[in-house]
């Protein structure tokens, strides 16, 4: 399964496209991995006598599994975007927006005492990482394909 080159990415492609492929692939694999863990946590929680794998109750595990499924879908789309730059170009703005949303609720969570008590400054670190990743998706977004007329 090789990397498919887009029509506007000739040999010796600009480094920005290679960087985009790398960021998209890394994000995609990470999202899928985290998604599978969250999905698996739901089933681990259902085992009789088991301890909660995540620090929350039945409702929390239910929504964690939902988030896990969504992450697997998002990650798969990002992997497709890493393989095909036209797809990646379409995915980049939405991905950056979602990353900003992820950062915003972490920042608000940090300000709220409840979440700070659970995760401390990790929330701010994660928010910073998501914002940097959003910047990467904004600036590394592949350029539009040149129009070709026949």
């Amino acid at each position: 399964m090789g990397v498919r080159r887009s029509v506007w990415e000739p040999r010796g492609a600009p480094p920005v496209n290679l960087a985009f492929r790398f960021v998209a692939a890394l994000s995609g694999v990470s999202a899928i991995a985290v998604g599978l863990v969250l999905f698996g946590a739901f089933f681990a929680y259902q085992r009789p006598g088991s301890e909660a794998p995540l620090p929350m109750g039945p409702l929390g595990h239910y929504f964690a599994a939902f988030a896990g499924c969504a992450l697997v879908g998002w990650g798969s789309a990002l992997l497709a975007g890493a393989r095909d730059l036209a797809t990646g170009r379409r995915l980049a703005p939405g991905t950056a927006f979602a990353l900003v949303l992820l950062a915003v609720y972490r920042m608000v969570g940090w300000l709220m005492g409840d979440y700070y008590a659970l995760a401390g400054d990790l929330l701010r670190w994660e928010a910073g990482a998501f914002l940097l990743l959003a910047l990467a998706f904004i600036w590394l977004r592949p350029r539009e394909a040149p129009r070709v007329s026949f």
Partner: protein
């Protein structure tokens, strides 16, 4: 559009860095203790203000009901998901 998105993200990044220095975000065990303990120590030995609240079984309890026993009151915000 790209610059606008960048400006928003950079502004949020700056806010994320600045948050611990805001009045709302100033916290931390050591800082909290330093701030609150001297003020709270002035309350020691004073009469508890009249309070009414619900216990875990839903019964209403007032401070008058608590007189005459050793008592430990713990106030906690619950994180119950």
């Amino acid at each position: 559009m790209r610059w606008l998105a960048t400006a928003i993200v950079v502004a949020l990044f700056g806010l994320n860095l600045w948050m611990p220095d805001t009045a709302l975000g100033r916290r931390g065990t050591e800082r909290t203790v330093h701030t609150h303990v001297p003020a709270a120590s002035s309350w020691l030995g004073q009469r508890l203000a009249p309070l009414r609240f619900e216990d875990l079984e839903g019964r209403t309890v007032s401070t008058a009901d608590l007189l005459g026993h050793p008592l430990l009151l713990v106030f906690e915000r619950s994180v119950d998901w």
